[in-house]
Symmetry: C2
Subunit: 128 residues, 2 copies
């Protein structure tokens, strides 16, 4: 059998997208850069974490990691996979996420459709 | 803050895609159909679980659920989001997943790139 390990998001700006998802998701944070990580970046010839082509967002508890990886192509059309999130107060949370760089695509009776700063669609439902 | 609840996959055949992911992922199973679910299907005017436009794959432990939902449009290009899976023996697991309907897109030194029966790309890494 296989275990779910990562949700990988193709990005134009991995570091910024990773910071968005780390701030959006409860218990998630951008993985800290240690000497080994910085050596990896130097070997790639990039200046630092903000130019890192693959940025990891890790949960403190269980759940999959979120990898933001640089790709040359841009987003085209609606994503075939998307994430559904829960929030205690979706209206307030929508405001918070918009403050982090999300945009609101649609407001439905039972959920909102938003997009991250790169346009990746996700839905926000009330936690019940 | 928001919590990750579901990974949603747009599908042409939600029930078949859900069965694939339930069989692929350790601890996941298609959510059982009870009377309320069957009443929901009747209200939608569909015959039964195999025509259900939204099929849920649930973990027995933690982790996000996988929702397979019917969409009218077909897959176009490489997915912007994909899943990374871990397996103790990636070679053996690749064979098992191909037996379930996956296809192998590429074999790299440290991982294989596969696609589910609807062509959704995912990667399989060795569990270390």
């Amino acid at each position: 059998m296989a275990r779910l390990r990562d949700i990988v998001i193709d990005c134009a700006r991995p570091a910024a997208t990773a910071r968005f998802w780390a701030a959006a998701l409860d218990g998630y944070a951008v993985a800290p850069y240690d000497e080994a990580e910085l050596a990896r970046l130097r070997a790639l010839g990039v200046a630092g974490p903000d130019d890192d082509p693959t940025v990891l967002v890790e949960p403190s508890g269980g759940g999959p990691r979120v990898w933001c990886q640089l790709v040359p192509e841009s987003k085209s059309g609606k994503n075939r996979l998307h994430l559904d999130l829960l929030a205690e107060d979706p209206e307030e949370e929508t405001g918070r996420l918009v403050g982090l760089g999300a945009s609101v695509l649609a407001r439905h009776e039972d959920h909102h459709v938003l997009a991250d700063p790169e346009g990746n669609e996700f839905c926000l439902f009330p936690a019940r």
